[in-house]
Symmetry: C2
Subunit: 215 residues, 2 copies
């Protein structure tokens, strides 16, 4: 099980197929046979390369986790290297830009990972219980710290609440988890263009963050 060219080829074929299927149908509704069939690979290949279905899921996640964290942190770093305190708008732009950039980069799986995130919030797979805080603990802490500096009129708790709200809105927006798509026969809003989504999101979130504290 060394890193030969062949091993890398088939293992990434499995990862690519599994990523799409996990995002589309969820972990439980995606069978080994669906994955291997879609990847054009023998059934035993998954256990050969990843040990188990759980191991494959973890590998699917880990492959995208670091690039996404890097994208998201990079922008914030640039912002904080200036001499002025970043505004809530600027911090949000940095945060949203991370997902938007990912969405345009097909070599990173496009929006698939963001959609996987959106799924994971609702249905957290136990296998990610450890890697999630490890990979995104710092990202979260640094963004919240930046927001706290930008929003001194809010308590720490309330900043956390608003971070909760904005991430819910953002991830679901990029993931296309549209309530209207489900409730109405022909929804007006059905765009998958990351730039448009970001443009619609920003004024909403900016104003929401800057709103006065709850009474």
């Amino acid at each position: 099980m060394a890193e030969t060219a062949k091993a890398l080829e088939t293992s990434t074929r499995i990862l690519d197929a599994a990523e799409v299927l996990f995002v589309e149908h969820g972990f439980d509704a995606t069978s080994m046979r669906m994955i291997t069939q879609s990847a054009g690979v023998n059934i035993a290949a998954v256990n050969y390369y990843f040990g188990s279905k759980d191991g494959l899921f973890k590998a699917v996640f880990e492959r995208r986790a670091e690039p996404f964290a890097r994208l998201t942190l990079q922008r914030l770093g640039e912002l904080e290297s200036r001499d002025t305190i970043p505004t809530a708008r600027e911090i949000t732009e940095a945060f949203v830009a991370g997902s938007a950039e990912l969405g345009r980069d097909t070599s990173l799986g496009g929006l698939l990972f963001v959609r996987l995130m959106g799924r994971t919030f609702v249905e957290p797979h136990p296998i990610l219980k450890e890697s999630m805080p490890r990979r995104y603990g710092e990202v979260t802490r640094r963004y919240i710290a930046a927001y706290r500096r930008a929003l001194p009129h809010l308590s720490e708790q309330e900043v956390h609440w608003r971070f909760h709200f904005l991430t819910s809105a953002m991830f679901n927006a990029f993931a296309g988890n549209n309530v209207l798509r489900l409730f109405m026969d022909q929804p007006l809003v059905n765009a998958r263009d990351p730039i448009l989504i970001a443009r619609m999101l920003l004024p909403f979130i900016e104003a929401g963050l800057n709103a006065p504290a709850a009474t």
Copy 2:
């Protein structure tokens, strides 16, 4: 299979157990045996009363769908029976109050149904493809119409986008699908109290809705 007292008793026992398990683990990860065991009922009872697992899921949904729609529409109706045009804040209060009231009413399953909704946005079960627009098409149309009157500076599209954002934030907030819970080791925000959630939500959403149109 008539509506005897016994039939009603065991069928609601099944519904109660299934509701919790579907919300907790999702449709696919919940087996017939988990449901019947939790309900203290024979395996065959589900098929006897609901025909199939799909039929049970639909029944679980249908039981709560109407009360929730009624709660949500009632408040809006009161608002619109006045002689002044409701503000975005008031409309949002009506919308949020529906979920908050449901959350406090254990006889309606509390927040379980809202959490089921949150799941369904991410993972829409085909069995609901028809009942969702039928049950919530009117709710959605009327709320969006009210928002359009309150927000004349926004295009129809943009009102739809913001409705998308606010429902994402709201449902995930009530469902407790907290990003922080997943990303951080000890999240500050972990409340399940519907009143607190509503209080935190309102200023955020109000300001987001009233924000100027996207550039």
